[in-house]
């Protein structure tokens, strides 16, 4: 039996500092992490890396998080098992409704609380296991 590997995570944030902090934190917890600094780059990496979990910032120039989420969830070559976690500054009813509409599975609010972020990633990793 090979050692259990943690699911790969793609972190998407146009703020480089934020993205890098999250990457370091998740890598320290043992997750393989890739980083994209824009929606466009995220979609490209999504194809080659095919991550299991995506942490997606909502407010980005160009393609925003909602649109990227929708494209990822509809990607033709993906088995739709990907878990998308939206990162948003807003915590209102209609934000969450919109997150549902774009196909997201979970969300975390900004400013990011790192231990909480990891718990969120963990529960989505567990949901992936349950589905497999």
């Amino acid at each position: 039996m090979p050692e259990a590997t943690l699911p790969s995570v793609l972190v998407v944030d146009d703020n480089h500092d934020n993205a890098d902090i999250v990457r370091q934190y998740l890598e320290a917890k043992g997750y393989p992490v890739s980083v994209a600094y824009s929606g466009e780059e995220a979609l490209s990496l999504f194809e080659s890396v095919r991550p299991s979990i995506v942490l997606l910032d909502v407010m980005m120039p160009g393609r925003d998080g909602w649109e990227v989420c929708r494209l990822m969830k509809q990607h033709p070559s993906h088995d739709r098992g990907v878990r998308v976690i939206m990162v948003t500054a807003l915590d209102q009813w209609d934000d969450k409704r919109q997150a549902l509409q774009s196909g997201a599975d979970d969300y975390v609010t900004k400013p990011i609380d790192l231990p909480r972020l990891v718990r969120t990633v963990e529960r989505n990793a567990a949901a992936l296991q349950g589905a497999a």
Binding site: E47, V49, P76, W93, D94, K96, L100, D105, Y107
Partner: protein, 560 residues
Amino acid sequence: MSQPLILTDIDDASIRDAAVLLESWEVVVRRDRELAAAIEDVPGVRVIVTTTDNPNALRDVVERARARALPVIVGCANDVARRRAIELHVDEWFLLPASPEEIASRVRSALARVTPAAAALADRIERVEYEQMLYDHLTGLPTLPVMIERSRHLIKERGELIVLYFNFVRYSKIEEIYGWEKLDAVLETTAQAVREFLDASTLRSSRILVSFTNDDDFVFFHVPPQGVAAVTDAEITELVSNLQEHVGGRIEAVHGEEIASLFEIYVGRSHVYYNPKIRLQRLIYRGIREAANAAKSVEERERGRRVDDLKRSLRERAVYIDLHPILVADTRQVYGYEALARGTLRSLRSPEIMFEVAAEADLLWELGRLCRSKAIEAMKQRLTRGEFLFLNVDPHDFVDPEFSQLDAEVADPQRVVIEITERTAIKDYPKFRERLKALRQRGYRFAVDDAGSGYAGLGSIANLEPDFIKLDISLINCIDTNFIKQNLVETMVRFANDQGAKVIAEGVERAEEYETVKGLGVHLVQGFFLHRPSENALARTTGETPVVREADTIARVGGS
């Protein structure tokens, strides 16, 4: 021209089948370390598919392939192999074991990527989007441009083409009620069932099925093979009725009766004759338009018939009541029943359709009156003392001058909960509230139906001061794996507790959903997980008129 080759170290059916899917590709197998050498020796290689778990062998393959600008696709046995493949920047990878479809699709996308050597980032994205346009992501069916290219040759050869346009009328309704995830699942089932059916039909000889991206309709192109006569109208009529039954049955088996009752197809057909003077695309688009119009007129005819059915039903009071139990989440004891009115005639079996027809024919008040009176009758006959009756009332009904008739029929208003849907816009709000107040004073209670279906937050719900809040079904579907839904429901429960209202989760279909909503503190639950539709049908046959039983049988035969 020689056949394109896949050079691989996989020696099994999956790769050979993938080659077949790619249309007249061939496979050359070279085991282990011989693979790398073969890249230079075998002429005609277009792509390399390897499953080697030896890192050096893989590096060797990648380097030699790169020297010849050939794409490399790696079948990975585990996560370590996958990461190694990504580090080496191979063109595509897949996890073993893989289906022929998956391998073929990897080959396609690897080839598409290789063609423009230094494809810019933006191009790559565009390609992803174009790919989505070419193949419907749910059904896997090719879209129109792909189909035209593929069949150009066939059509020219045969000189004619038959276009069938399948119009699935109520799929947007499914999305509205159950959410897009459900619609996606239903579309998947539909496409699969349609494919199954056509595979076994007389049209199997040419299976060119396409779908419009992001639409609910399918277009089917049939090019009869040489020496076979084109299908006749009679054959198509029969085919369509069999298809409707087949797909309806599959949807009922997978998604339940409620959704199956919304399912309806109208099919139109057109005949296109090849004309070298007119561009093929234009001929085909014209044919599609004609077939779509034909489908539309079938639909309109059917609508006219339905209005007649409704008028007859109103005259004969041909409506029966299905009682859906609402249970206490913790104890699973019956708390009350929601009355759902269904037409006795098969065409009006679904409440959604029956009310839709009534709205078109401007008979909403009449239908509302009949349904309410039948529901009160059912309450008297079938409910015990402590049980509540949940009664659907459209805001439109409150302005019916005869609405107060309800009072004359209801013996104890304290046991009646009036459900008002959040979906219907309330026009005259102050007047509406006034009527609510008057009813409340007489003892009636209120439930807000479909709560959380829109973006509107909790404010609009608070305005109605409900005793019960019924959560929108789309919030319950798959709530066990969606944490946003859990969060929304949690918020709603907290809000309800503050307001002294009870939350009802509707559409609980699976044990996981039940456990999740119970855990979130939802007070009452309703759905097929708690009562199977068959029990319901059984209860319905007691004490009903023979007409009902007959309709019931028809319904079951139709659904199986």
